[in-house]
Amino acid sequence: MYFCGLDIGSCMSKIVLIDENEDIVCYRSSKSGFEIRKTISNLYESVLKDQNIRKDQVKYIVATGYGRNVALAFFADDKVTEITCHAKGVHKIFPKCHTVIDIGGQDSKAIRLDIDGRVSTFVMNDKCAAGSGRFLEVMSNAIGVSVDDLGLLSMKSKNKATISSTCTVFAETEVISMIASEVKREDIIAGIHDAIATKVSALTRSTGIEDEVVMTGGVAKNIGVVKSLEEKIGHVIYVPPEPLITGALGAALIAKDRYESKICDAET
């Protein structure tokens, strides 16, 4: 018996399959792209094929993320927002977590959890790419470094640059003028990480911060952003081994809960 969580984000789609013991059987991710339906089917089928699992063995599918309504329309049994799913997924890995900072491709959010891991309050950034993965993508493009290499490179910085603007478009202009003044690459990158951390720390502070703090989403893979954020909020930040899939994991766990309560209802 398996349960599936699908997190269709603005940039990446993630799938997690768990068994009845809530252990992860398999996970995978791919670019969401324009054809969400195709992305979802491909992810799902490739996971089943690899694991040699039949469709009827997957008892319940919960979709989350921006594409959750599309997934619900043709595929999933239920939809839940990524805020609830991240909380659920993080609580499973870090039962003492009370603050989740999730930085995804298009948005960033801060979520406060109560003792039972339930969402007590949350904030999301507004119509603005500053403080999101998209900000890093634009900047990595401007300085000619792959997004994956930004984190380690920034650790070499001895003289961090200051990016004053919180607007992606204007920050890019600032970066370009720094390139023209031959500021060191690692210093610019460190400045970029700082700009994101400033924006996200303000967002996080507005919900209040309580240990343990866990960071999820693709940007959590960037050690530079994590360190800068730790400095700004004054708390240690824990990062799960696979920060990209916590939302999908949460969705899979909710799928199991919902399936069990459905069975329970049917029996009574």
Partner: protein, 365 residues
């Protein structure tokens, strides 16, 4: 049934009947005086979402309402206006007046000075301001506005306010008899109608409503915040699985939750007092108390009787009144009920907002 309230041809019909239309922008506008002059006060909504021309005159960080109304003025959608009346109720309103005056051609325009505090001195001051305004309308339109005219208009508007109060009660039923979106639509329709006509319609509607079956029972929300002239926002919230059982928006309860004392012999003084004591949006306060504390006590009182499942604060990045008050509001209200803050901008980033609203619903269950 809601549809019958909406009629875009109504304003033209008033003009054909020889009436002249005065545009207003704020719930503090004492429409009774305009009405007593035989004119038709119409609250402007700003229905245009695409801002094409306004940014050549004003910065894009102003509130959506000032941008949208001004855009409509520029493209000629308000060519039915004979005049407009502004108030110094907030900084944007005050400064938009001169931009409107320079760029939107009308026969009559006026700016009313609204006091920042409420006490005996400010009441005397506002009474004088309103007397001057009355004289200005009399001079421009060559009419005499008698005390009898004013008292008749006060009666019409008091009835208007008490009928809206009555309509709002049908939202508190368990289950509610009418949705927040439908009430908002009726409210909006009322803004472009002569209130005596609207009153008859709404009375008939309320009578029918009492026999209606209730709506499906859903988690109940209290909504507070900026003026919402776009039903889309309420529809979006309610379509996520909530019923909005109360709203104290500028064009919600703050528009009708007061009355003008009909026993005061000088009607202008009565109007001045009525509007000064109206539920505040943060623009003015009673002496010895902060405007924000007044807002909070107004909300708290209603939360006690309504006992909603949650509160949604609707804000606008460009609104200084909500920008300065929302942090305190969020902090204080969160002590009583779960709070969601939505910062609205148009065109609406619907999916992002839906995620917040759905997540809020999930966190309540």
């Amino acid at each position: 049934m809601i549809e019958e309230f909406y009629d875009s041809g109504r304003i033209r019909e008033y003009i054909q009947r020889g009436k002249r239309i005065i545009g207003t922008f704020c719930s503090y506008t004492p429409e009774e005086i305009i009405h007593a002059a035989g004119l038709v006060p119409v609250r402007l909504f700003g229905e245009t979402v695409d801002i094409m021309n306004a940014y050549s005159y004003i910065p894009n960080w102003l509130c959506y309402y000032s941008k949208r109304t001004f855009e409509e003025g520029l493209i000629g959608n308000y060519d039915f206006l004979d005049g407009f009346v502004f108030l110094t109720s907030d900084d944007t309103n005050q400064l938009m007046y001169s931009i409107w005056k320079k760029n939107i051609k009308v026969e009559y325009s006026y700016m009313l000075q609204f006091p920042f505090s409420v006490d005996g001195t400010s009441k005397n001051f506002f009474t004088k301001v309103l007397e001057k305004f009355k004289r200005s309308l009399e001079d421009h339109y060559s009419v005499d506005i008698t005390d009898k005219d004013l008292k008749d208009s006060i009666e019409v508007y008091n009835r208007y306010r008490s009928l809206l109060k009555e309509l709002y009660k049908y939202r508190f039923y368990t289950p509610p008899k009418i949705s927040g979106s439908d009430v908002l639509k009726i409210n909006l329709a009322g803004y472009s109608m002569l209130k005596e006509e609207f009153n008859d319609k709404i009375e008939e509607y309320i009578n029918k409503l009492s026999d209606e079956e209730g709506l499906p029972d859903k988690p109940r929300l209290y909504v507070t915040g900026i003026p919402i002239y776009d039903p889309l926002v309420f529809e979006m919230i309610e379509s996520c699985g909530f019923t909005i059982v109360f709203d104290d928006l500028c064009n919600g309860s703050r528009n009708f939750d007061f009355e003008i004392n009909e026993t005061i012999s000088n009607p202008i003084e009565a109007i001045a007092e009525g509007y000064l004591l109206k539920p505040t949006c943060g623009t003015c306060s009673r002496q010895k108390s902060l405007a924000i504390d007044e807002r909070l006590s107004y909300i708290n009182e209603r939360l006690k009787t309504l006992n909603p499942d949650g509160i949604v604060i609707i804000g606008d990045k460009g609104c200084e009144l909500c920008a300065f008050s929302q942090v305190e509001l969020r902090k204080e209200l969160a002590k009583i009920k779960p709070v969601l803050y939505l910062e609205i901008d148009f065109p609406l980033a619907k999916e992002q907002h839906r995620t917040r609203i759905e997540a809020f619903l999930e966190s309540l269950s």
